[in-house]
């Protein structure tokens, strides 16, 4: 018995196989290394990390409050002397602090609304794919129908009908953004549900609900993560779009979209009120898109949906 083990270990081909095996098992490490080789994604990741820190802690370090009106310096251009590095708006509020505080809201909306769409989409897609048959056909038909609706108009309708509350923004955007997620998850589940380990679990008498939760969903995470990174910038964009139209977050709260809207009003006299929030918003979207792209290439090199 021990002899045969030795011969296998000595065999260089078998050793190579075994090595392959090890690499095959650490799929996540594999993807991670591929991601690290993607320069654009890594740089974007670092920038986003710094952005997150600055947005979170920056306002605390600044001498100004977001709603403080500095009457000595209204519409003053960026300057080190006044202490308003990004300048002030028409009522003397510090643009730097307002941009950072707006960033908190924008990023929070991006994360929370994506989470909402993630929960709905993964649950829905996993159930449809796992049960199959009529359930699947019916559930996916519903998705098809909703998919064809002019989604932005419905978000606007929701905001108008139920008022502009921040929680509603999360829900409204998340509730209309889960369709892609549901489709992708369903497709993956269809493939997963016939694998041996799921069949084994079923044979052991594990309940359907537990199979979905413990065996299906964990194996979907790779694809789901890629999609989450691509959804976050979309959601941030939708929120800023709404805020730009005056249908999103309301004063005194602000977001990058709302700030861009304010800035666009007095851009002729004070272009810095437009340029700084716009730059922050754009850099964020740019970086998230690159991270998402990089993750997609790293996690499933072949499959581009």
């Amino acid at each position: 018995m021990s002899d045969s083990v030795n011969t296998i270990v000595d065999d260089p081909f078998a050793a190579a196989m075994a090595e392959d095996d090890v690499r095959g098992r650490s799929l996540w490490m594999d993807a991670w290394h591929r991601l690290l080789k993607n320069r654009a994604a890594v740089i974007s990741g670092i920038i986003m990390f710094v952005m997150l820190l600055v947005v979170l802690f920056g306002p605390m370090l600044s001498p100004w409050e977001g709603d403080f009106t500095d009457w000595d310096n209204t519409s003053s251009p960026p300057s080190l002397e006044t202490g308003h590095w990004f300048g002030t708006d028409a009522v003397g509020r510090d643009i730097l602090v307002r941009t950072l505080e707006g960033g908190r809201v924008s990023l929070m909306v991006g994360l929370v609304a994506t989470l909402v769409s993630l929960v709905i989409g993964v649950t829905y897609g996993a159930i449809a794919g796992y049960y199959g048959g009529f359930t699947d056909r019916f559930m996916m038909r519903v998705v098809d129908i909703i998919y064809a609706l002019p989604f932005m108009f419905f978000v606007i309708l929701l905001m108008v009908v139920f008022g502009r509350h921040i929680v509603l923004i999360f829900v409204a955007i998340g509730a209309v953004n889960w369709l892609d997620m549901a489709r992708i998850v369903r497709g993956q589940t269809l493939g997963l549900k016939n694998t041996e380990y799921v069949e084994a679990a079923r044979a052991c008498g594990v309940e359907h609900r537990d199979i979905i939760r413990r065996h299906i969903i964990p194996n979907l995470l790779g694809v789901v993560m890629v999609y989450v990174t691509l959804t976050i910038p979309q959601v941030i964009l939708v929120e800023s779009f709404l805020s730009f139209l005056g249908l999103g977050v309301q004063e005194p709260m602000s977001s990058w979209g709302a700030l861009v809207n304010d800035g666009a009003q007095d851009m002729e006299s004070a272009p810095w009120t437009l340029i700084f929030p716009a730059a922050f918003l754009t850099v964020t979207l740019y970086c998230f898109n690159y991270i998402g792209d990089g993750m997609r290439d790293a996690l499933d090199p072949k499959d581009h949906f």
Partner: protein
């Protein structure tokens, strides 16, 4: 056989649109009706008699279900009813006035996006992994990432306010006033189409039949034009459906920034004024357009793609 298959496929897809349209109308109707505050809740409180008369005139005093079916009946005859806010105007008239403007801007943007986007995408694919490719794709990513409500004010600032070459807004059907809105609206679509075209073109260029075409000595531009272009454009074709939806949504913002009297401005105005009939009318109208365009794109795609077969159950 194939012809029949496509017709069969088209009919079944067309029938499948009916529930979608019903859901569209139903959601729009009930969402607006549960909204707190009605169209006549203005600053001044109306005397109850007048209020009752108004409600009766617009059938707001009927039970909800009766209103719903009345509205459904109207929609089937393509009548969106009177506008609540713009007195003396029907929603049909408002759509007839706003839509040609929106269609012109959106249509031009679409054409621009298609040609510029595919050209850029092909150029990048032919120079795959060179500095030119990377910079083109970097710029394209920027085009996707910069929201059009950021691009628009910046363009106005630079080209209209500082340089003074173009008018900053307004609408009189002149080319000068169309340039900025059309470009702004087209930019994200150009970027998407360029990325799609590049990806699919690279894939096609690596396929065997392209190698064969090159091997038999066909000049490069002919290989592209005759053999690679059509399959490489397939993803772009199927993107045209979502692209339209994107352009329509984008037009809401664009029309506001450039003060264009299109359907999007009416929609935002109607949404802020709780103009039930106008908002529903626009949502349904745009919904139908998006649904129909998606349908056309779908059929066009299956017709162009020889790999799609119709003998199986779709």
């Amino acid at each position: 056989m194939r012809q029949e298959g496509i017709i069969h496929h088209a009919t079944s897809r067309l029938l499948g649109l009916i529930p979608t349209l019903l859901v569209l109308i139903t959601i729009a109707f009930f969402m607006i009706r549960v909204a707190p505050g009605g169209p006549f809740d203005g600053e001044k409180v109306l005397p109850p008699e007048i209020r009752a008369n108004l409600d009766a005139k617009y059938h707001l005093d009927e039970p909800l279900m009766q209103q719903y079916f009345r509205y459904l009946g109207q929609i089937i005859t393509l009548d969106f009813g009177p506008s609540f806010q713009y007195k003396d105007w029907t929603v049909n008239e408002l759509i007839a006035q706003g839509f040609p403007v929106s269609l012109t801007v959106g249509g031009l943007a679409m054409v621009l996006a298609f040609f510029v986007g595919t050209a850029i995408g092909i150029a990048a694919a032919l120079r795959q992994n060179t500095a030119a490719d990377y910079s083109i794709m970097g710029i394209a990513m920027l085009g996707i990432s910069i929201p059009n409500f950021v691009v628009a004010p910046l363009l106005i600032l630079v080209l209209a306010v500082y340089a003074g070459w173009l008018p900053a807004g307004g609408w009189d059907w002149s080319i000068q006033r169309m340039v900025l809105p059309v470009i702004t609206l087209a930019l994200p679509a150009i970027a998407y189409i360029a990325r799609l075209t590049r990806g699919s073109m690279i894939e096609v260029l690596h396929s065997n039949y392209i190698r064969t075409a090159r091997a038999k000595g066909l000049p490069g531009h002919l290989v592209i034009r005759r053999h690679a272009l059509k399959p490489a454009l397939l993803p772009v074709i199927s993107f045209m459906g979502p692209a339209t939806a994107g352009l329509i949504t984008g037009s809401v913002v664009i029309e506001r920034i450039y003060s264009i009297p299109g359907l999007g401005s009416y929609f935002v105005q109607g949404a802020l004024n709780r103009d039930y009939t106008l908002v529903m009318g626009v949502v349904i109208f745009y919904g139908v357009i998006i649904i129909l365009l998606n349908f056309i794109v779908d059929i066009l795609y299956s017709w162009m793609n020889p790999r799609i077969r119709f003998d199986e159950v779709m």
